[in-house]
Symmetry: C2
Subunit: 480 residues, 2 copies
């Protein structure tokens, strides 16, 4: 099914080699072997990224009529202007550059059971915007053109497992959104396929258990955004029956109970849907694409090698030249969106009746397709609010920034999509809060993890950032 | 809770007056009384609609820079141009006028049990585009401004039942799409609230059972589009346990089994979601708003009193002056979209293992928000295909047009939204087909009614036309 490639090993071989040193985890590869393999792949996939002037981009240029930054083929993506009108009380209208990419790509993870334990086929992949080059990515990240084989060529490894009529069982298949403040209506198809085949494992790939992925998710810049996002979609049934007493402590019990949908939720699921419908109907979000050159009046300036905002906030648009060793095309140039500072994604959680509840907010971003989506309790780039009056600062921002260490359940830096963003990093935090903490307004609701994940089969409910947080919790299995 | 209005009667009074003549149906009002009441309301709500020139519109005009037809307040809706690019083999790119209305309105039905039997509070309401003036509409049809009470004023009757914190129980609350070929990304909030209050019944309102509504749904131009759409969303649990042996014949049994989710579906629900995701990811649908005046190159002409296409197909845009007796504003002018001919919506069904399955297609229309939605087996304006080569005519169109009468389970003309469309009517057909009929390509799937209705809590799965068909089947209760 897959052509034999130099350096591939069969599952049986992978399993044998890993088996000898795996004891804690029923994994085909030990964590020590994983790190050796990952370091080797990082060195093998060396590449250079250099900032260049827009004039030095190859195939990319500014449209003379609009000032939009476009590719001459009309493919890939473009940078355009978006004008937004809302009924918010603070900054209700604005214009901003936005990435327009109407195409839906495919992000797939191939899974397989070894001795009954679920493993995910993950890739060590470099992206030009990554802060550290190579990160763990899904089995497949493919554009629609690759998927439909419009342009012929070698194609993407393992893509055949994700096509209709493949021999695998489709366990999840849905469209999920990406960053609403940087993308206009962008979505990717997330697909999880289980196979029983003896899969040849290419040298850039390895099988990891959910428990192993959970550990890797606690490391900075290790698991890329696409991987986190697809991992969040793995159906609970796949991770085996959640034995809610299997964890080491009562916090883990509360997480597992919450994932399994046991215990009583504060709000019924129908009430949650009604609340979100009310927010979406009440929220004005009028989006109008405008020529990028019209954003001058909003403070956006186009220079020789950067598009930026006069206040030094939000993000820049830059151009880079990439020289890599492990891509179909080994050298290319492209624009990237470079945020001015790291974002903060903090999920406040508490145990209610022994079941973990997360305080989610319904958030409306400039480029969202469906008005509002659920996201973390705090979701912002704090620097953008440095000069904002206290009453318009994001609720809980200061609470989170000053929270005592004993409340922090995890605290990790993850990268956002390195194919579009340059050094975009967010701090992901989970904080367990005191009982008396209440939601500040009607934009917030306490939900169980089961309630959150049961919305994932349908599009545009959870932001990509909230899915990252969910991924960490979903991979928390009793057998870690 | 509701101000006492001249002509209102309490539930107790309604119930008493209806009770005496109701025997077949446990309804508070007999069908005979309903027709008397409806005829009275039709006469009371008399109004005139006259075509006028665009220049005679009050508050509306063509924007000099774009040629878009807009209201001077920036509110209501506008007529703009839309350019669409797809990867279809036939007519892959085109430009067309489209209604842009980013606001989400509220369509609500208040329900209440009388002696345990569910009743819906329905309104006799006139809309300027209706072919016959007054039709049965939901309890509430409100714009967001009405809902948020932005403009003050008398307000919409019964609207308080649909606000957060009302005393009712919210039984359904979700966003649903409208016609994708005429509207850009339009959706309305559909909400069903159950009350135990003694509700004063205004003279334009009456309580009807689902069985009564089912009968009315078989009449031409009786139940308006908004009512059909909200009725389709009434949760099955509300209509009482479906006794699948209660019907008179095996066809009714098969419908009730299908609604109840009993029996085996041809495809599992996960497979259906995966199939629809595949269609959405594969289908190109690039939408770009353009000035209406740019559509000249697509054959659209703007005259003194009509915008039309040089081929005489699709639809016109016209202007009307309305003089009515039963609206807050008693006289006004507005544009309307006037289809050139009636549409055809045919749902092919068959019994598979004793459970009714419907053959739905995943259809992609110019203005859809989510690329593709499920709709009837045949969904078109046949006249638009008069000169189309046979291989590009919609599958089953000729089959339906020549089907023998014995296969027809129902055949009725319904109006589409009379507030936006002028004399827009569609023929809704349900045909039971022979066993050997198979889906022509991967755009079609056999689904049970339970599978269809379980998608309704989430947005943009079923077109408004398919929801009309579902409404007729959902209201088919054992107690008719």
């Amino acid at each position: 099914m897959i052509d034999s490639v130099s350096g591939t090993r069969t599952d049986t071989e992978s399993r044998r080699s890993g088996r000898a040193v795996s004891s804690v985890d029923d994994a085909v590869m030990s964590m020590a072997d994983f790190y050796s393999w990952f370091n080797t792949r990082t060195r093998a996939n060396s590449f250079q990224v250099e900032r260049i002037a827009f004039a030095d981009l190859s195939g990319w240029g500014f449209d003379p009529d609009t000032g939009n930054l476009v590719h001459e083929s009309g493919r890939f993506f473009s940078l355009e202007g978006l004008r937004v009108r809302t009924n918010r009380s603070w900054v209700s209208e604005w214009g901003q550059p936005i990435i327009v990419q109407p195409e839906i790509g495919v992000l797939g993870i191939l899974v397989k059971r070894f001795d009954g334990v679920l493993h995910c086929l993950m890739q060590a992949k470099m992206e030009p915007g990554n802060i550290n080059g190579v990160q763990i990515s899904p089995t497949v990240q493919a554009t629609r053109s690759n998927y439909l084989r419009i342009h012929g060529g070698a194609g993407t490894k393992y893509l055949e497992y994700f096509r209709p009529g493949s021999r695998g069982r489709v366990l999840f298949d849905g469209l999920q959104s990406e960053q609403g403040s940087w993308f206009l209506h962008k979505r990717n198809r997330h697909i999880v396929v289980e196979t029983d085949d003896d899969v040849p494992v290419d040298e850039d790939f390895c099988w990891l258990t959910l428990g192993q992925l959970h550990r890797l998710l606690l490391l900075d810049h290790m698991v890329n955004m696409d991987a986190r996002s697809v991992l969040s979609c793995i159906p609970p049934a796949l991770t085996g029956p959640h034995d809610e007493h299997a964890g080491d402590d009562s916090f883990t019990h509360a997480v597992l109970r919450s994932l399994a949908g046991h215990g009583t939720a504060v709000h019924e699921s129908g009430q949650i849907l009604s609340w979100l419908t009310e927010v979406r109907a009440r929220q004005e979000l009028v989006q109008r694409r405008v020529p990028l050159m019209h954003l001058v009046e909003d403070g956006w300036r186009t220079g020789a090698d950067v598009i930026d905002h006069r206040d030094g906030k939000y993000f820049d648009v830059i151009a880079v030249a990439v020289q890599g060793s492990n891509r179909e095309v080994t050298a290319w140039t492209q624009p990237l969106l470079a945020p001015k500072q790291a974002g903060l994604l903090a999920l406040l959680v508490k145990r209610i009746g022994g079941t973990l509840h997360a305080l989610v907010q319904a958030r409306s971003d400039a480029g969202m397709l469906n008005v509002a989506e659920l996201t973390a309790t705090v979701h912002c780039q704090p620097g953008n609010y440095a000069d904002t009056p206290p009453e318009h600062r994001p609720p809980f921002l200061d609470y989170v920034l000053t929270a005592p260490a004993c409340r922090v359940r995890w605290d990790v830096l993850h990268s956002e999509e390195g194919g579009r963003f340059h050094h975009a990093q967010n701090r992901y935090l989970m904080l367990e809060v005191e009982d008396e903490l209440v939601a500040p307004d009607d934009r917030y609701r306490w939900m169980t993890l089961h309630q959150l994940t049961s919305l994932l089969p349908h599009s545009n409910y959870l932001t990509v950032e909230l899915r990252s947080l969910v991924a960490s919790m979903r991979s928390l299995t009793p057998r870690m």
